[in-house]
């Protein structure tokens, strides 16, 4: 599903350069739920950005679903992102002047689907996250948990191979966090491959595999027994 070999990435800071990723080897199979942990500066976000094709590695190999991701043009990256990946962000990143339904339908617009089809699919995914009744509400009229669920529905809308979540519960309280995690676990049960970047141990424990990063290398990679999240709704 996902294959990474000897990935290196440096950032130029003034005259010197900062070596962020120092040779990452990683392999993720279909249906896995992986937590990537590490303190800030460990390179976990950079790794996620490269996996998410938002950033490109300096060297190394990255193969996603048998497609080698290399020398992407902006246009190609956009197509791959749309086809392969669903993003979930800490700060939700919903478009504030579009209602819930329009937000969910946006990736489908970039897929070139017809309006009617888009709305139908978007409604289906909103129902899946339990927010069909809120479809006409703007993000500002939703709670944090609801916003994140709309964001998850949006990430699911284009039916991606891989869900990438960057601190998905970082802006949420404990109760809402476990709701969201329970939902992500449910998606994983249904067969979705999920990658979660987090620095919270209890969130990581809810995944099936934990990868710990420190100073740009993988310190630890272990399979864990999944702690099931308690849904409150």
């Amino acid at each position: 599903m996902l294959e990474i070999n000897q990935l290196h990435k440096s950032y130029a800071i003034g005259d010197s350069s900062l070596h962020v990723l120092k040779g990452i080897d990683l392999s993720v199979a279909k249906g896995e739920m992986v937590a990537i942990m590490g303190s800030s500066g460990s390179g976990k976000s950079t790794l996620l950005n490269i996996i998410g094709m938002l950033d490109e590695a300096d060297s190394g190999e990255y193969v996603l679903d048998s497609v080698t991701i290399k020398n992407l043009t902006e246009k190609k990256a956009a197509i791959y992102r749309n086809k392969f990946l669903g993003f979930i962000f800490q700060s939700f990143n919903l478009i504030n002047y579009k209602n819930a339904l329009e937000n969910v339908a946006l990736p489908l617009y970039y897929q070139g689907l017809k309006r009617k089809e888009r709305q139908e699919k978007a409604r289906f995914h909103l129902q899946k996250v339990g927010l069909l009744d809120w479809q006409t509400h703007l993000p500002s009229e939703l709670s944090g948990g609801q916003k994140q669920r709309v964001a998850i529905a949006r990430a699911l809308a284009s039916n991606p191979k891989l869900l990438l979540a960057d601190e998905p519960t970082g802006a949420l309280d404990t109760t809402t966090s476990s709701d969201i995690m329970a939902f992500l676990q449910q998606l994983n049960d249904e067969g979705k491959t999920i990658l979660i970047v987090t620095h919270e141990e209890d969130i990581a424990a809810m995944c099936k595999r934990i990868i710990r990063l420190r100073d740009g290398i993988i310190m630890e990679d272990k399979i864990v027994t999944q702690v099931r999240a308690e849904p409150h709704v």
């Binding site: 246009k75 800490q90 970039y110």
Partner: protein, 409 residues
């Protein structure tokens, strides 16, 4: 390609930022408003020029004579130059391809009476061609024709006001008017855009007048129109050539300004034409300058918009928006604002001209309207201006890296 969803996106974005969009459009509205008004005024000025001279055909040349002011070829100064029928024939034949219409004229002042009504009018004896040189409009009956000339018939064609004054609103056609003791039959009534004086004229066949009022073949003035295919320079050259040949014919010194005087409308027209084109260029420069200021204004605000929407654009890119779709959103928004704002300016400008046009008449500005072709070219210019204004911001937007845009602050 018409993409309804793209337009939906754009309207949503404009609608969300109404004040901002309005403000950015304002400069363009103002630019087009200014341009429209200036253009309309120039147009009105132009109309006034052409209306002032509607009295005669715009390609008229008048030949008048007087006394010589310089001795020439042994002839003394002060000799009277008299045009005759043979001069008319000479011009008509020697300048056949250069002239369109040609007419001889004899002027008289007469007292006209019908029943108990009496008034003084100018009597002008003419050839049939004169109708076209003077641009007289015969609205009842007919003009002087060749048969009248050949037979020296005692017929007249009277101006609208002559009919009004002598016949008090009954038709003059077929009635006889007494002109200083001789009775003439009215065969036609004409109107003329040149003003009241032009409609207080009585026309009579040239040959009739020559026989009755002097029994000679004298002509007071020869009017002609030059070949309408001539441009101004050709027409002016023709006028000069004509003057030279006539001076030769009458043994007049070439620098004698009084003996033979030729008035050529082409000279006047050329001057007016030059003035209006300079005025047009000036207005174009002012209008373009303002428009460029407007474009820069919109461009500025679009850059600000892009900056403000950096995060949104990043999200869109993460969701799979191609650079092209980002560029079209920004570009079309810019074009839309520019075009709508420009049209508003155009509309207000036309409205102002319409409203002010009665007032402007006092300042020699007639019917200051804007033509259809201007509206079309303005549309194209505005679309071009919008593209120009949106190009840099759109380029900037398409270069936004989602990773930078999505970084949590």
């Amino acid at each position: 390609m018409f993409d309804i969803d793209l337009w939906r996106e754009i309207f949503q974005s404009i609608n969300k930022n109404r004040t901002r969009s309005l403000l950015s459009g304002f400069t363009v509205t103002f630019a087009i408003l200014l341009f429209t008004i200036l253009f309309g005024l120039a147009n009105g000025l132009n109309n006034t020029f052409s209306k002032t001279f509607v009295d005669e055909a715009s390609n008229a040349i008048f030949i008048r004579t007087g006394k010589t002011s310089k001795a020439h070829k042994g002839l003394q100064a002060g000799r009277r130059i008299q045009l005759k029928n043979q001069d008319f024939v000479y011009i008509k034949e020697d300048f056949d391809s250069e002239t369109e219409y040609i007419a001889s004229k004899v002027f008289k002042n007469i007292t006209a009476s019908y029943k108990n009504k009496k008034n003084n009018y100018s009597l002008i004896a003419v050839n049939p061609d004169n109708q076209y040189v003077e641009k007289s409009k015969v609205y009842s009956g007919r003009y002087v024709n060749q048969l009248d000339i050949d037979n020296q018939t005692k017929v007249i064609v009277i101006g609208r006001l002559v009919e009004d004054e002598l016949f008090s609103r009954t038709s003059a056609l077929g009635k006889n008017i007494n002109l200083s003791g001789i009775s003439y039959k009215v065969v036609g009534v004409f109107s003329d855009d040149g003003g009241d004086d032009e409609e207080r004229i009585i026309y009579m066949p040239l040959s009739t007048a020559q026989q009755i009022y002097g029994n000679n073949d004298y002509v007071d003035q020869i009017n002609l129109t030059y070949n309408p295919d001539f441009d101004y320079n050709q027409a002016i050259d023709f006028g000069l050539d004509l003057e030279k040949k006539l001076k030769n014919r009458f043994n007049v010194a070439s620098n004698d300004q009084r003996a033979i005087r030729i008035f050529n409308r082409a000279m006047q027209n050329k001057g007016i034409n030059q003035m209006t084109s300079v005025l047009g260029i000036l207005i174009l420069i002012i209008g373009m300058g303002t428009l460029i200021a407007g474009v820069i204004g919109i461009s500025n605000i679009m850059i600000f918009i892009v900056k403000e929407r950096t995060k949104e654009i990043g999200i869109r890119k993460a969701l799979g928006a191609s650079p092209k779709s980002i560029v079209s959103i920004i570009l079309i928004e810019s074009i839309l604002i520019t075009t709508l704002a420009g049209y508003l300016g155009l509309l207000v400008g036309v409205g102002v001209l319409e409203w002010a046009s009665p007032v402007l008449k006092t300042y020699f500005i007639t019917d200051p309207s804007v033509s259809k072709s201007l509206v079309i070219s303005a549309t194209l210019t505005l679309i071009g201006a919008g593209t120009l204004a949106g190009y840099l911001p759109a380029k900037k937007a398409s270069k936004i890296k989602p990773i930078v845009a999505l970084r949590d602050d």
